[in-house]
Symmetry: C2
Amino acid sequence: MFVALADPTRRALLTRLATHGSASATALAKELPVSRQAVVQHLAVLDAAGLIRGRRAGREVRHEVRSEALTATASWMTRVAEQWDERLAAIRELAEER
Amino acid sequence: MFVALADPTRRALLTRLATHGSASATALAKELPVSRQAVVQHLAVLDAAGLIRGRRAGREVRHEVRSEALTATASWMTRVAEQWDERLAAIRELAEER
DNA sequence: GTCAGCTGCAACTCTTCACTTGCATTTCGG
DNA sequence: CCGAAATGCAAGTGAAGAGTTGCAGCTGAC
């Protein structure tokens, strides 16, 4: 998940798909300074992470963002952050008891 | 940022520091199946990302989580997710107008 | 039917990254 | 003062990842 978001090119692809809707790998490659194959491999990573989905439409494959996975991941991240804060607060309490 | 969170060992170090408070690199290395130097390098990455902070205490360096950076990053991530949802909603509206 | 456009598979290069080992340096305790 | 324990620096290895090129297979349009 974090691995999928760690690459700048993949984040660019995600924002592009989120902004302008679905697009084919070839169309995406024309807007980035990389080859079509590089885009295809990045899309495969994003797909494996559940962030996008590929749907065949005739002779091209349109890739689109899965908003469910995005929002679910965002809420999960905030939850983790809250847990971290709770732990830190508990540690501070223990420190004050001493 | 995402790069820092992408590695499992670094996430393990973070949760460890968040759970049990500050610790030295040597102490952390004893709880993980990696060498001390590996831990040191991971801590350097986490420090560069602003997630932890190293403070010298005598002959050892105690590393602790910076909760501010954690919560700030979490809120930033939710904000990005919301923006993505807004964009998707706008696209759907345009699609329905057609 | 044929041709152009898009996708899929495979192999290869090159850099980055995770991790290790070895040694020098500093510091606390008896 | 001396040894144990912790950090810091450096160099090196092995694997994973980002990117490329080349070619073959479908599919839609004219």
